[in-house]
Symmetry: C2
Subunit: 319 residues, 2 copies
């Protein structure tokens, strides 16, 4: 960083007060990741010829995670990754995040760990932290708003009959981790990591757009539920071959099809060389189905036969 | 709206599910205010030659408001106005808001009233609603992220010795309303309205920038606390004449100086014709002090004598 940039990106001095002392402590943890924080609003320059994309995502204790499951570093990291994952679904590159943090008294002692987790989640995809808001409250809650830029955004509405369906990574880990916790067991370290440390697929998603993908969504509610949004938005039918879904160890296909908070990317595209993709991004890409004309919706198939889709993950139903 | 625009701004169809039924109900309430909602992220075009400004603001039940004080329409309206007020502080024009709503079961029956309030808050300053996120949770909470554009943003860091300090409107209403509620009384309708229905001063703030204002902040924590941020950011001393602070009826100057959540704008600027300003915007503008060189901070003065500043409003201290 040149001294000119250092000056330009310096945070603005805040006035006195206990709330602002805490903000100052968080800024210290973020170091150079925090840029020009302290004004009423952050200023962002969108690269010429690109559009701004913006998405907001909330993680609430008791709904999206439990304190018994995750430490504060992981809570911060995961909330940030979840928000940035929506930029990946648009094939956008991050420009910055703003963080609205509701911090109960009991969590204040862990505020620095939370900040370090947020900082890691952002810097993992080279995203600066440009602003925030800090509130008291009874429930720990993080709302991360992510801003990105892209010349030609992917959309849920771009699926076309004749295209194939591809998904990144391996599915089922987060649901398996939650099942284990709910049964009073500790999940396998692999399943736990898939829940606690998702990786926003920014570069792979941009790579998929470059390979002709015309629709995308990130898996937050579950493969089937999320593809139902793509089908509805694109007014197409999507057939998924259950036996082709890439699985983490110890998970059945229907469980993987219904596992939420994966933050893998599913796209519809013409034929893609999956081996070449894996070589470029070090990430599995698997063809799992196809887009067809026909009644709008998602159809699960096993050995050529239709099977009933499992119910999607729905916070309002499951709680 | 042309049919072409109607198509362009149409919301994207969502898949099935109880959560999405609720989102559909909210979209119905917002009507044409809701634009292109339903993808992973909203797409916004920033006007050429302008910068994007972004700000996020949380309103939590039990911290920023109580159900006994406000109905759900007012809760939605007020949270939206509070977020948009930060755009006014940058002299920016709104491009859109995204809404992260944490909705407890008990508040679901009032979700439409909440949505109508949010919609009113946005459309009052011609701002579209471009996206959101809906969560379950134990505490009603709204995080509104507001996006705006401006060629030359105002900053907290732009105050210069020799400038004068101006504030819009009349201060003290919100604190008086909260005092009444806390004492078990119903506030006067005037004080209550100042708390429940603040108006983001977008056009007046742009008018102040046009008149040479070089620093601005919106009053969210209290005139003195907020000016302390301007003083710290600008490395100047700000003197405020207590007896010149414009008051709502029934409020003393020190109370007004400490009243938060006003969402009036305070600027530093060269001499401004306040009568001409009032004629253009139908809004009072009052000169209340000056920027001087000297130790960084805010000094309150009464009849030429220094008085001790009251403590600022601080959520973490007051709760």
């Amino acid at each position: 960083m040149t001294s000119q940039n250092a000056g330009k990106n310096r945070n603005i001095d805040l006035g006195p007060g206990k709330e602002f002392d805490l903000v100052r402590a968080l800024l210290t943890e973020w170091g150079k990741s925090a840029q020009r924080i302290g004004d009423d609003a952050a200023i962002i320059t969108v690269p010429e010829g690109e559009k701004l994309v913006v998405t907001t995502d909330t993680s609430v204790e008791g709904v999206h995670f439990l304190h018994e499951w995750l430490n504060h570093f992981e809570i911060g990291y995961r909330a940030t990754a979840a928000a940035l994952s929506d930029l990946a679904a648009m094939a956008a590159r991050p420009l910055g995040i703003v963080i609205a943090l509701t911090l109960p008294e009991a969590d204040r002692v862990e505020a620095r760990a939370l900040a370090v987790g947020i900082g890691e989640g952002a810097s993992a995809v080279l995203c600066p932290i440009v602003g925030g808001d800090l509130s008291a409250g009874k429930t720990l809650s993080l709302t991360i708003t992510a801003l990105g830029a892209v010349a030609k955004p992917l959309s849920r509405a771009g699926a076309k009959p004749g295209q194939r369906v591809y998904v990144t990574g391996h599915l089922g880990g987060p649901a398996a981790a939650v099942r284990a916790w709910r049964a009073g067991r500790e999940p396998s370290s692999d399943h736990r990591a898939r829940f606690a440390n998702p990786i926003p697929r920014i570069e792979p998603a941009i790579g998929l757009a470059r390979r002709g993908a015309s629709s995308a969504i990130d898996i937050s509610d579950g493969l089937v539920s999320d593809l139902a949004h793509v089908a509805a938005a694109s007014k197409v039918r999507i057939e998924i071959d259950l036996d082709r879904i890439p699985l983490v160890e110890g998970v059945a296909p229907l469980q993987a099809a219904n596992s939420g908070e994966e933050y893998e990317i599913v796209v519809t595209a013409p034929a893609i060389d999956t081996e070449e993709f894996r070589a470029e991004f070090g990430l599995a890409l698997t063809e799992i189905g196809r887009v067809v004309a026909g009644p709008v919706g998602v159809e699960l198939r096993e050995q050529g036969r239709k099977v009933n889709p499992p119910p999607g993950f729905d916070h309002f139903r499951n709680k």
